[in-house]
Symmetry: C2
Subunit: 361 residues, 2 copies
Amino acid sequence: MTRAFNFSAGPATLPESVLRQAQAEMLDWNGVGASIVEISHRSAEFIAVAAQAEADLRQLVGIPDDYAVLFLAGGATTQQALLPLNLAGAGQPVDYVVTGHWGKTAVKQARPYAAVNLAADGEAGGFTDIPAASQWRLTREAAYVHLTANETIHGIEFREVPEVGAVPLVADFSSSIASEPIDVSRYGVIYAGAQKNLGPVGISVVIIRRDLLERAGQARADIFDYRAHAARDSMLNTPPTWNWYLLGLTVKWMLAQGGVAEFARRNAAKAALLYAAIDGSGGFYRNSVAPAVRSRMNVPFFLPSTEMDARFVAEAGKAGLIALKGHKAVGGIRASLYNAMPLEGVQALVAFMHDFQQRNG
Amino acid sequence: MTRAFNFSAGPATLPESVLRQAQAEMLDWNGVGASIVEISHRSAEFIAVAAQAEADLRQLVGIPDDYAVLFLAGGATTQQALLPLNLAGAGQPVDYVVTGHWGKTAVKQARPYAAVNLAADGEAGGFTDIPAASQWRLTREAAYVHLTANETIHGIEFREVPEVGAVPLVADFSSSIASEPIDVSRYGVIYAGAQKNLGPVGISVVIIRRDLLERAGQARADIFDYRAHAARDSMLNTPPTWNWYLLGLTVKWMLAQGGVAEFARRNAAKAALLYAAIDGSGGFYRNSVAPAVRSRMNVPFFLPSTEMDARFVAEAGKAGLIALKGHKAVGGIRASLYNAMPLEGVQALVAFMHDFQQRNG
């Protein structure tokens, strides 16, 4: 098969030019006589790659100087355990706003370390809307307020930054970082697994206001300590170098494409096209998320029956539109429209949807 | 430059055929229309890759059925923190045998979670020998005894498995796993960062006797819980899929080459050749590790002056022998001879050493 339009929620599609560069450099990177996956993280060559990735990410996302950027092995779930360890005293209150599956995961990882207060929870409403910030039950002495900027499974996204006063806002941006401009200064911590909008799986980014690195937190190993990682430029131990390199190539590609302003425009256009196809299908395709908070990144929808969902996925796959099966927690269809998904992919999907409905509606 | 002989201690040289396969599959893996780094870890395709890597590793290393194998993001240092969390009660004694830098790291990561007893410590002797097991000060009620099978910086290696009674032996095999036959049943846990003998950086392997998964350990997040990872086949969260895939290719290559018996033979021959060149240099090259415990994987040595060390590294690099600079903690030269380093590489190094001495001795 030639390259398909890949709607996977993550690990997700990457820019073809990034893959081609990684391919070309696989046996000999930059003339050093070895692959970048074979050289020391402490070599001058790799340190330059790492530093360039950080500089480019700072430019892309607009990260102020008073924020440190950490590049850490693993995914966002690990950060969900490290956040209370680093930011909260043992048993201190922490506020969580739960708007979908990943908010629940964040709560689960934090519970062993802090007194989790569910400041708001959209589960009773099936995670189809975001509870109004005015109704959140926030704790004055909370170590932080945690939210999930975009929920990949339920397809629901914060469209504005809530006001939470002096308590630092901590946000999981795994699936929407760099998809549009963010005012980083409104957050204490932004964290993200890279495998959706920043490139490859196996590495996460933590953007943390430097004063928060001074918090005592709780007894923990060095390797779980954000301050220790910051002091060593994320090379406290051997980092996932190849993943870091591929992240760097992806960030460089986003800058060359025009940066977050351009991706905001493209992503809005892609999402508008797909939601219009759903809403204009006379109920054949259904998405029940409140329009004001529909995700631009992950669009879940349902056909009239689970049998038809399955047939849609199978036939789409044969047409070169792959990884459209919804998450097992909710079923149905899910199309993920991260930065590396071109408009042409969404146009092809919408054309397929129209055709499928003609044949089955 | 064409491909050099790369003596890096890790990330380290990989088999060229493995890199060529990864290169060929970079844009379209197995005809699915996407790279393997772009597809879901929960897809049938990736699950098959992951399962095959485990089956092949079990065959290569000889892992009995009563041991679980975990594939976890990050390096060995993370495991050094997770081990006491999972195996020891809070403050319970744990015995550590320290024979070099990485043993000290293991101690550092464990101290927040357990009462570390230094059962033996070779630091006073400059880590040039392994204290005799008969003199170790073991604790009867220890949760485990930890050792570092091979120390990459100091170039010192256990050549036999010490007898520690009923207390489980936990061993960091990062730099010597699969380099020769191991009797896994002698250990409670064997763990290894993959970036030396198993392939790529960014993933670690934990081989753990299943009864140890039942230990209560200490309060910890799900993502730090070995039992939770084992119950989900190491897919509790998104694993580093590309790294897992490359590990699988590397293990498959090792099996095709003849397995650990063949690598034991090759590694012994490579190490013998290099140590003979050092010992036969009339003191121009020096290695001060006790011959009985010299590492077959990492050979540190020194020239008559630090100035000459630096010149050796620079000239060797120009001759296509790269990454020979010793670790900053000890200086000098270090040649790492993992499974993917061919005998020809060591022959070229020894020829260069002879020539360099002729010109400078």
